[in-house]
């Protein structure tokens, strides 16, 4: 488990990183290394060149603005998790981060690295999708932003071109009256989710659901919106029956096959239970917010 030979470059600026990336088609960006280095040791990845972006000035910034929480590409999971300003406008972030690996890994792994890695069971891609966020990229042809809906293509694959650097990701603020919740189950604490579900629910004064957004990870080849569960909730009362129905609808989104950790049948059971739980919790928060 030793990596193949590679060059190591420490980029001093975004421009330099993009140049270094363009020069060598075998090059890869190195962020926290918590996924990439393991893959290299297993020789699942054999980049000819690594471009370390973690020392690029300003890339380690978290900016909380009107549009939400902008997270630079060198921001570690743990830094974002502990950021009170980010938590104030989008509490889903902290709730989800608590499930990302273990503290020592969160101390090194980056949020944007996690988005670019795009594991189908990873939490932060789910949150970005749920909040309708986006990723900003810089490439030889300039910069662009890709909404989460389009960014995640499949397990370990994104819409990022191989010569592009993701510079930051933006997690929009939650509407002030929104209720939210996040639930996950993994067999061991800190493991990737077997399934995780997040919810954003808004209610009117009468307790009817005016808007429900749900997303899950671990149940498909990428994080997915639970459209059928959202539809089941829309316009209804946020009660236990509605939550259970949303759970049943959520289960229909599972298309992961049996694997060594869980059967597909179990994932359906689990995503239904988690959906039920987050809908109830989020609705309760939303009601408290409107009272």
């Amino acid at each position: 488990m030793k990596p193949a030979l590679f060059e190591y470059h420490r980029a001093a600026s975004v421009a330099q990183a993009v140049d270094l990336l363009a020069e060598d088609p075998g090059a890869m960006i190195l962020a926290g290394g918590q996924s990439l280095v393991a893959a290299m040791n297993f020789r699942l990845a054999a980049p000819s060149r690594l471009i370390d972006i973690t020392r690029i000035p300003d890339l380690d910034r978290i900016a909380v603005t009107a549009e939400g929480v902008a997270v630079g590409a060198a921001v570690r999971h743990r830094t974002l998790e502990r950021h009170d300003g980010a938590h104030a406008v989008n509490p889903l972030i902290r709730a989800a981060q608590a499930h990302v690996a273990h503290v020592p890994i969160r101390n090194r792994g980056t949020v944007v690295g996690s988005l670019c890695h795009a594991d189908a069971a990873a939490e932060m891609p789910l949150v970005l999708l749920l909040c309708d966020g986006w990723v900003e990229l810089e490439g030889p042809g300039g910069n662009r932003r890709i909404p989460a809906e389009q960014f995640f293509r499949m397990h370990l694959t994104t819409a990022r071109a191989s010569d592009e650097l993701a510079t930051r990701a933006v997690f929009p603020a939650l509407p002030p009256d929104a209720g939210w919740a996040f639930a996950e189950f993994a067999r061991r604490k800190g493991d990737y989710a077997i399934a995780a579900v997040g919810a954003i629910v808004q209610c009117d004064a009468g307790g009817r659901i005016t808007r429900a957004r749900l997303a899950a990870c671990g149940i498909s080849s990428k994080p997915v919106r639970l459209g059928r569960a959202e539809a089941a909730l829309a316009g209804g009362t946020a009660d236990a029956t509605a939550a259970a129905e949303a759970g049943r609808a959520a289960a229909t989104h599972v298309d992961a096959a049996d694997d060594s950790i869980a059967t597909a049948a179990y994932r359906r059971h689990l995503v239904a239970a988690l959906t039920e739980r987050v809908v109830a919790e989020a609705a309760a928060r939303a009601r408290r917010g409107t009272e």
Partner: protein, 795 residues
């Protein structure tokens, strides 16, 4: 007298060094100029090798040598069968490097030696092996059915061994029974996963002809014997050192693994030190594993639940080879009746070749499987007869005054008789039920159900034959300069804390502080009589040998001290590193006694003056040493047990199955165990807890998965779920101490105890929790959430 060390909670001697990172593991041994080995391993479970092209690898810069089976001379032969047994026909062992055929994914095919491990791995990838893939059957039951693809052409039925043992008269007893309970149970494959993977480093000194091998093994003396024999060297020219070793759990008692021969071979051939530090992936596919067994067990009982006869037939997965013989299956079969009287037993097993990593003992060694079989069967018998699960056990347990309880006709893994030597089984059962709250549980369960929570309770009893022979030795010497006591024994430690418990035994005899007793183990140049660390035997076999030896040294010391102090031997007391004249403050340090016990000509220090021939202290007429005298305060002695001594225990758990996640949450876990007299309760608890953690792994998490083609699909720490500390509950441990009558210290082994009964305890509790929701039986482990969902039938 000093306070007795035996039985006290002395802190582990090795911990400060290990915690400060000052341990010296194989990879820490400085070997200037060392080369590094990497292996090409089979990607197929069964295939014929058509060709191996090493040209590209040999040409790579930094590559020093590439070996295939054609390049290793006399090493190209089947590895030894370590434990022969008549039940095996033509037992298959692997070759150091595959010739013609490969039999499991991970089998070594070629070895590269290069300047560093990076280059060695690059070169290994550059070796092109052409295979013709063959059919495989991974399922144990289908593997023994007619027409299944064979792992070895020599064994078309895949049966490696077929062995039946009988105790009593099962035929007659079964005919007399009023009730029969039958179940099929299965325990799946796991692996020891020691923190440090396996390691070998070797250096050959052409001038002296000495081969030195650092090997992270549990059996350095055995490895030396193997190397000396295979390389045709005198044993004294082979020195094997097991330095600090990061866990073994049985995986490292097996030898030789191919690398244990090939690394020394390359060091001799190339004339430079060579190192092989196994990585985690290799540990998953190249180092032996254990556990899969399927039992069909029958209990033939009276209506009152008294079991008259037990019949068990099981399949034991031995993997692609059977180098360790039938040890695992034999331990399982002879432990099958557990702590119960059951006077009539018929147990048959077939060991089955499967195209997977070979199977040799992993902590527990067959006992978790047989415990699972008998305990699940007992629960079922209780259910069928409408008897409480505790009560059915009570009716069958061996009573205190019935020991020793012999199972005539059964032979244990050491070839000796099975005789349960002592215990308080009823007391243990009462204690565990008391602590877990067995009697009040029904109300607790009902209250939880009313809240929509599914609670269950389970218990399981185990017995463990420990302290197997043939023998171990002890050598004790009081150092003449410092007064420190050096102790040697032949078995080695992998983190257990032998140095502490053996020091306690010696300290009690010689009246020295525990920290002044220095245990030297694992170096054949320091001491080379003995066997190895396995079968929970260190305290029993080495412990008693060292105890005997220390007593001899004590006698010598007292005799010499009486001479020096000019008093009767009866008036001499050993304490605080000195010999005292009882009731006075006259004393002499042990160092001085040791010096004086060695007649000297040269007075190199003050104490030595007393030992020279003109000094008054060495008064003697005639020779300084009598015919039967040895110089110094030193002795050697051995202990060879007459048969295994049987430890036992009971586990009980209250668990909850979370309705949303189907996760099994362990609310309370109580372990009552009895390993005879405890040398050090803290270390005993450490062993019990560590075993329990591995038992919880086996009960709920760990299963090595193979796909239909024989590829391991979770051979890494991401997918093979070893529970973290966060998954291990607090456990209440209660000790009973029933001395073993079979050895002077009255001790029994405890190394494997913790893991044995966890599976049936958890399975029983889960079953109990879910029965009211239509759940069925839980007769297989691990019990995953997916398995629970399937059991509930609501998928």
């Amino acid at each position: 007298m000093s306070t007795r060390q035996f039985g006290s909670r002395v802190q582990r001697n090795i911990d400060p060094r290990l915690l400060r990172g000052e341990g010296a593991f194989t990879d820490d041994i400085p070997l200037p100029g060392a080369l590094h080995a990497a292996f090409v391993r089979s990607p197929f479970a069964r295939a014929r090798i058509l060709s191996i092209d090493t040209a590209a690898a040999r040409a790579m810069p930094g590559v020093v040598a590439v070996y295939t089976c054609d390049d290793i001379g006399h090493l190209d032969q089947a590895l030894p069968l370590l434990i022969p047994h008549p039940s095996m026909r033509d037992a298959r062992t692997q070759r150091p490097l595959a010739r013609d055929d490969v039999h499991y994914v991970g089998q070594a095919v070629a070895m590269v030696v290069a300047a560093d491990r990076y280059v060695a791995e690059d070169a290994a990838l550059a070796i092109d092996v052409d295979y013709d893939q063959l059919a495989v059957e991974l399922d144990l039951e289908r593997a023994v059915a007619p027409g299944a693809p064979a792992v070895h052409t020599t064994h078309p039925d895949n049966v490696a061994a077929d062995f039946t043992q009988v105790s009593g008269d099962p035929e007659t007893a079964m005919a007399a029974a009023q009730h029969v309970t039958r179940i099929r149970v299965q325990v799946d494959r796991s692996t020891a996963a020691p923190m440090e993977c396996r390691t070998v480093a070797a250096r050959f000194d052409a001038a002296s002809g000495e081969l030195v091998v650092w090997d992270g093994t549990q059996a350095p003396i055995g490895v030396r014997g193997g190397l000396a024999s295979i390389f045709g060297l005198d044993e004294h020219k082979v020195r094997v050192i097991a330095p600090d070793v990061g866990g073994g759990f049985g995986q490292k008692v097996m030898f030789p693994y191919p690398d244990e021969l090939l690394v020394p071979f390359a060091a001799i051939e190339i004339g430079r030190p060579v190192k092989y530090i196994e990585d985690r992936r290799e540990n998953f596919i190249g180092s032996n594993q254990e556990r899969t067994q399927i039992h069909w067990i029958e209990l033939h009982a009276t209506k009152n639940g008294e079991v008259l006869a037990l019949k068990d037939e099981f399949l034991h997965d031995t993997g692609a080879f059977i180098p360790y013989g039938i040890a695992v299956a034999q331990v399982a079969s002879t432990s099958i009746a557990g702590p119960y009287r059951i006077p009539n037993i018929e147990v048959r097993f077939r060991a089955v070749y499967t195209p997977t990593v070979p199977v040799t003992p992993y902590r527990g060694c067959g006992r978790p499987q047989s415990c699972f079989a008998i305990e699940r069967a007992m629960d079922k018998l209780a259910d069928e007869l409408g008897i409480d699960r505790r009560e059915i056990r009570r009716r069958n347990l061996i009573a205190d005054d019935e020991f020793p309880w012999a199972r005539e006709g059964l032979l244990f893994a050491d070839g000796l008789r099975v005789s349960l030597d002592s215990g308080q089984y009823h007391k243990a059962l009462d204690l565990v039920c008391d602590r877990i709250g067995w009697d009040g549980f029904a109300a607790e369960q009902a209250a939880a159900r009313a809240e929509g929570r599914d609670l269950g309770i389970g218990l399981a009893f185990y017995v463990e034959g420990t302290g197997l022979g043939p023998y171990e030795g002890g050598h004790v010497r009081i150092h003449p300069i410092t007064g420190k006591v050096y102790v040697n024994t032949g078995l080695t430690a992998q983190g257990q804390g032998h140095d502490t418990v053996f020091a306690q035994i010696v300290a009690d005899q010689l009246g020295v502080p525990v920290t002044d007793v220095i245990l030297v183990q694992g170096d054949t140049a320091a001491y080379d009589w003995g066997v190895a660390t396995f079968a929970s035997r260190a305290a029993v076999v080495s412990g008693n040998a060292i105890h005997k030896t220390a007593a001899l040294v004590r006698d010598k010391t007292v005799r010499a001290a009486a001479n020096m102090l000019e008093v009767q031997e009866a008036d001499v007391e050993l304490r605080d590193g000195h010999a005292w004249v009882a009731g006075t403050d006259r004393k002499v340090p042990l160092a001085a006694i040791a010096t004086a016990s060695n007649p000297l000509r040269y007075a190199f220090n003050e104490a030595a003056q007393a030992a020279t021939q003109f000094a008054p202290a060495s008064r003697h007429d005639g020779p300084a040493l009598q015919d039967d005298q040895h110089p110094g305060l030193e002795a050697a002695a051995y202990f060879s047990p007459e048969c295994a001594t049987w430890a036992y225990g009971v586990h009980a758990a209250v668990i909850e199955v979370d309705r949303a996640t189907l996760q099994v949450k362990i609310h309370r876990y109580v372990c009552v165990h009895d390993c005879g007299n405890m040398i050090n309760p803290t270390l005993v608890e450490g062993q019990v807890m560590g075993g329990l953690a591995q038992g919880i792994g086996g009960a709920l998490y760990e299963r090595i998965e193979y796909d239909a083609e024989g590829n391991p699909t979770n051979a890494n720490f991401v997918d093979f779920l070893i529970p973290y500390a966060t998954e291990i509950p607090d456990v209440e441990i209660a000790h009973l101490e029933t001395p073993s009558p079979l050895n002077p210290l009255g001790v029994k082994g405890v190394g494997e105890a913790g893991c044995i009964a966890v599976g049936p305890t958890i399975a029983a509790a889960v079953e109990d929790a879910l029965r009211h929701r239509g759940g069925g039986r839980f007769d297989a482990v691990p019990i995953t959430p997916s398995a629970i969902l399937e059991n509930l039938g609501t998928a």
